[in-house]
Symmetry: C2
Subunit: 359 residues, 2 copies
DNA sequence: TTGTATGCGTTATCAT
DNA sequence: ATGATAACGCATACAA
């Protein structure tokens, strides 16, 4: 039982372990990576030696050697959105469990995630890719350039693209948005604004807008373009408290008749809630707000945020599952998961006057 | 003007560039890394070739080669605390600007950051280390094992340790906590609780507790151990909304006479605010709350959080500056920065009855 | 079962 | 100014 050597000048490498254990480096590699080809006895001895020497394999050497075969990358768009941060950990664990190396790439909200992915693939080989967040408006040709299996996470169906050519895991953005909007309609609201999506948005934003519009149409309520609010973000992140605050402030100035808000992200909803309260409105008596995502802080504002919760961890786990299946040769698949409406305190019936009053 | 080659099977390496430009690999390396030893003419030609080939240096190969000389590591404790997340980006940029590689290590709140750092140093050589967040209760011997320059960030003076042996950047936790508490005292509060620190905490927590106690002593107000609330976190993160909520809930049950709260972190303050509001209290009329940190979401709860803002970006930048200076051989130094009390809406005078009423 | 030799892509040393 | 070559630390085809 020798003590672990205190860190002296040089770091202990696989060669040192091999020398100390009286074996070749390859046996050490095998013993430590659970590969066959080493007797149990030597395996144990090598492990003991490695432990006592305080050996830790060099991450970058492994990466360099293994990148193309045992590493994946996570393209993360919207790092500032707490909703995605909780998913990161799940992906990290999934990769670790399977002994894959993970590269996390933060994609700025103004950048093109596929371009970034292509750059990454040029830079280091990866066995697979995850696109987390962002809008996705790409042509089949772009995607084909990736050359490796990939999964879109929290991004659902791509219109007009061969379903055999991509995998995805998401909630049904159309259906869930319709549900959120229907909830407000059911409470009696008629003048419901959509916050965080413009009239010309595509991809996820478009799906949520359509869900919102479909709910209004179902209820025989006229679609009112003045209540659809998004874009004109000058370099700002589309998912931030500040953005929600500003959208709401402007909306209240221009359309004080609004009684219900459906925000396409909780951060936007929370910013909007603050703006409404600052404006002197009572929530939910004067104004109802429903969010989308289900981030933790939504339960710590007051009133608690009513929101459509996405099963973030489930999405992240299924994403990884599908990616690793794809790497093993499984065909592409698209999965839609169920969201869940979490009742908080930000939504209630509109004031009586609003129910019957004139436009 | 040839188009960039579409990503075909193999990735383009430095050798490909060298071959295409008709030079040796070393010239390519020099040209692309702004190293001397290449004529301007060939440098430009190489760059053009690299661009047209879509060459991107392999990160892991660079890491493997450069780690000991041009890479640093960030030991991040409390990844879930938004306060630290904003600082991460600053460190990333600082490293990139100086062309250093950065390894980010997430240290679980229950783990020992120095142990983790030693493991890291065993695993890959680094030229320097940053410890961000966490409490720091280590013996000189532990620190000496690191063998590389390091800077404690948001961790101030270490008691009983030679100031020549470590660098640090932080606010004066003692003084700023006293200031925050004094603010509550100045409003007329006398029964002020400290949330998030126990009586036996050390390091940063201890400094903040002492600042709180000093303010009370200055005001001739008796220190009341029943109002100092921390610890007993069963595996939970010490910096979370939930923790603040639970601390506050229990406090209200046991000490309903409290009128002021000083929480040692904004996340705790926000959890406490929610608990108070859920409990039916009005803030600030029935209860005043002051936080510490200055995270963004504090401005989006209602009322806005009154808090002692730490200059996070400044701390992060100075931390990097000192680290790189240390790597270049500069001596250790400790820096204390000024905090700033941001007035929100969560703190006001106590109810009149509380001012004069019996204990 | 075990070891030798080679390559991953880069930068640094030492020649020329 | 330029290039051949040797590391960096690991994993693996191939040989024994």
């Amino acid at each position: 039982m020798t003590d672990p050597e205190p860190t002296v000048g040089r770091r202990v490498t696989i060669k040192d372990v091999a020398r100390a254990a009286g074996v070749g480096v390859v046996s050490v590699s095998r013993a430590l990576n659970d590969q066959p080809g080493v007797s149990n006895e030597t395996r144990e001895r090598i492990r003991e030696t490695a432990r006592s020497l305080g050996y830790r394999p060099n991450r970058h050497a492994r990466f360099l050697k293994l990148s193309s075969s045992r590493s994946i990358a996570l393209m993360m768009k919207g790092i500032d959105n707490p909703f995605f941060q909780q998913m990161l950990e799940t992906v990290e664990n999934a990769a670790r469990e399977r002994d894959y190396l993970l590269s996390v790439i933060k994609v700025p909200h103004y950048a093109d995630e596929v371009d970034e992915a292509i750059m990454l693939v040029d830079e280091e080989a990866v066995a697979g890719l995850i696109f987390l967040g962002g809008n996705f408006t790409h042509q089949p040709g772009d995607l084909a350039r990736l050359q490796v299996p990939f999964v879109l996470s929290t991004i659902g169906q791509l219109e007009g693209i061969d379903p055999g050519s991509y995998s995805s895991v998401a909630v049904d953005d159309f259906a869930e948005s319709r549900r959120a909007t229907q909830y407000l309609l059911g409470l009696g609201h008629r003048r419901i604004a959509l916050l965080g999506v413009g009239l010309r948005d595509s991809s996820v934003g478009m799906l949520r807008r359509r869900g919102y519009q479909a709910a209004l149409a179902d209820a025989g309520s006229p679609s009112d373009d003045g209540l659809v609010r998004g874009l004109d973000l000058n370099g700002r992140s589309p998912y931030s408290f500040e953005y929600g605050y500003q959208l709401m402030t402007r909306l209240l100035a221009e359309r004080p008749d609004v009684t219900g808000i459906f925000a396409v992200a909780d951060v936007i909803a929370i910013g909007a809630l603050k703006a409404a309260l600052d404006h002197g409105l009572r929530v939910p008596q004067d104004l109802s707000i429903v969010g989308f995502d289900g981030i933790q802080v939504g339960q710590y504002v007051h009133p608690s945020l009513t929101t459509l919760v996405q099963p973030a961890l489930e999405i992240a786990e299924l994403t990884c599952q599908i990616l690793f299946d794809s790497i093993s040769g499984a065909p592409a698949r698209q999965e839609l998961l169920q969201g869940e409406l979490r009742l908080g305190g930000t939504a209630g019936p509109p004031r009586r006057g609003d129910l019957v009053g004139p436009r």
